[in-house]
Subunit: 363 residues, 2 copies
């Protein structure tokens, strides 16, 4: 009897495994968002069921856990972004997932590993992705889901701008505008971890005191409104050294005010243009102050450095800061994947002082 | 008698030598221009007699042959230039002279050598200069006086901008505005010598056809007015490759038109701002086209590279181009040193299509 029971139990277990496997790859479970024309994200995106193909020997099947809605995703869907995926396309550039199946030749990854995609435009707004094993980065299980899902854009942008455009040492100063942006908050925290001081410029608003406190808690050395920057004496009174680097995501007059304070020979790096005004540079700043004006685009850097040592050292360093609580994920709200329209609408009509990130979560 | 005669002859020769020496260093012959306050060059500059001190062991006495009046000299006298010499000051940064006396320890120079000063603000608008032997560059006698007198500013500026901000190869293209400026003409000729093609932008004017012919004779590949640049198809039809480098001495809208044609990842170097309008840079040019905006100031470069190999290789290369007739001195007019006010007035009210250079000549 015991033996029969054992066999039944074995049979049941086997059936359960098969059933789980079938469930895992049951196409009726797989879903994806898709758009067939560029336009208003609320109109052109639809939820569809999806097929999950069997992985090739070098591929893995990733079941998505979470994927953020970034402004660049919105612009891509609108057709306003320089990198245009061929249509039809699944939106989404960032995300974190769990490996649920390995191709026969994949040896350095395991089922259950948490991974993030290493390329953009892979389409993370779907329940399952079948990817080449070398197009994912394994991240530690102890890394928070939000941090993992938003690792490859904002923290990396902040890291590279701070690392590649100035030789920053503890005690040096960085000035940035749009300091309350997702990237700006990463800049503040990475600088604090490196001992670099930050002068953070934000727009005046009714709750500016609250915003200043928030950014100071993150590690901001000084937070000034655009108006306060114009008359500040923190540089004259040597409360902080003159900045060796300026990060600009605003443009227009605000950028001009920031560059006035830069040390001779330093750079302003532009990674956004929220004012929709161009950067205006006085001739004397170029010739006599020897300031340099450059741009940074994470998508290009990642393509050009796809397998570089610099890239993987950056991931290590950022993940280490995150797991040490030196660098925290963005203020966010998780939204069920099926309610994607809510996430899109909220991102399109973003409000509040620090631009909450909406993150799609999958079952 | 013969012996007496001989002695008399010897005595006469000795007297002649002493007399020549006295003549050479007779202070009543030495003159300098001087200003004791910043202001209108026509008012604040005066001609004075000067003392010529005996050279120290490491010094040489240089008798000036020719010294140009550059716009930067005018701005310095007006007090509008970033490098302000302590007052009273002798104006003039460039020039060529002949060594007329050597200090006891000077071994690598000889009397009669032609030399140009290696530092700025030495005051070349005077008949004699006593300089440290290592602050002059010996130039070949076969180098024209005009080329030698104007060697260290415009040709060097053109050379460095072409050498240091892009990796130019034969067949590559450079775009520049203010192409008829003194520096612009050097750019055209150096590029021709290097096999680099130039797209030259000038302001429209009644005699623009004549100007175009003049610049084409110098070696310009294309000459376009600002208006023609806006609608040109030379880049679309691949008559020339898209430029790898833009040189800007105008600013404003003109610079914006030039940067539109640049290859992704290239630089615009600003060395002047004749329109008095700042440089206006669209955010997308920085982020997505990865254009870089830098400035160049010859004075700073020369200070930072005073004794560098690069500097002396540059002088060799430029002098070699000049003596091979690949690079010619500016269109100019020689004006007697005593008539300096005429040279100043002409430079202040500069006219004509290619900005003639006024050069002070000494007896």
């Amino acid at each position: 009897m015991a033996k029969v029971c054992f066999n039944v139990s074995l049979l049941l277990n086997t059936l359960k495994t098969v059933s789980l496997k079938n469930k895992r790859f049951n196409s009726s479970m797989a879903k994806k968002l898709i758009y067939t024309e560029y336009g208003d994200p609320l109109k052109v995106i639809n939820l569809e069921s999806a097929e999950i193909k069997e992985p090739e020997p070098n591929e893995v099947v990733v079941k998505l856990i979470a994927a953020p809605v970034n402004p660049a995703d919105i612009n891509t869907i609108q057709g306003k972004y320089p990198s245009k995926p061929p249509l039809p396309a699944v939106p989404g550039n960032e995300g974190v997932g769990k490996i649920v199946k390995l191709g026969a030749n994949v040896i350095d990854l395991s089922e259950g590993d948490h991974v993030v995609p290493l390329s953009s435009n892979l389409g993370t707004w779907q329940t399952h992705l079948v990817l080449s094993a070398n197009s994912v980065l394994k991240v530690p299980q102890k890394l928070g889901i939000v941090e993992a899902a938003t690792l490859t854009v904002n923290p990396c942008t902040a890291f590279r701008m701070l690392r590649d455009f100035a030789d920053l040492k503890p005690g040096d100063t960085v000035i940035q505008n749009g300091a309350n942006s997702a990237c700006g908050q990463n800049v503040i925290q990475i600088c604090r971890a490196w001992g670099v001081r930050t002068v953070n410029v934000v727009r005046h608003r009714p709750d500016v005191g609250e915003l200043k406190s928030y950014l100071k808690k993150l590690g901001a050395t000084h937070v000034l409104t655009e108006e306060e920057l114009r008359s500040t004496e923190i540089f004259q009174t040597k409360q902080v050294a003159k900045p060796k680097l300026a990060l600009n995501c605003v443009g227009g007059k605000n950028a001009l005010e920031c560059l006035r304070h830069l040390q001779n020979g330093s750079s302003m790096v532009t990674y956004g243009g929220m004012s929709r005004e161009p950067l205006t540079v006085p001739t004397s700043a170029l010739i006599f102050k020897d300031l340099q004006f450059k741009g940074f685009w994470m998508t290009r850097w990642s393509k050009e450095n796809y397998s570089s040592v610099d890239r993987f050292e950056m991931f290590d360093e950022l993940i280490s800061m995150m797991t040490n609580n030196e660098l925290k994920g963005p203020t966010h709200e998780m939204i069920d994947f099926e309610n994607f329209r809510e996430a899109l609408l909220n991102t399109l009509t973003i409000q509040g002082m620090i631009g909450k990130k909406y993150i799609l979560k999958f079952n």
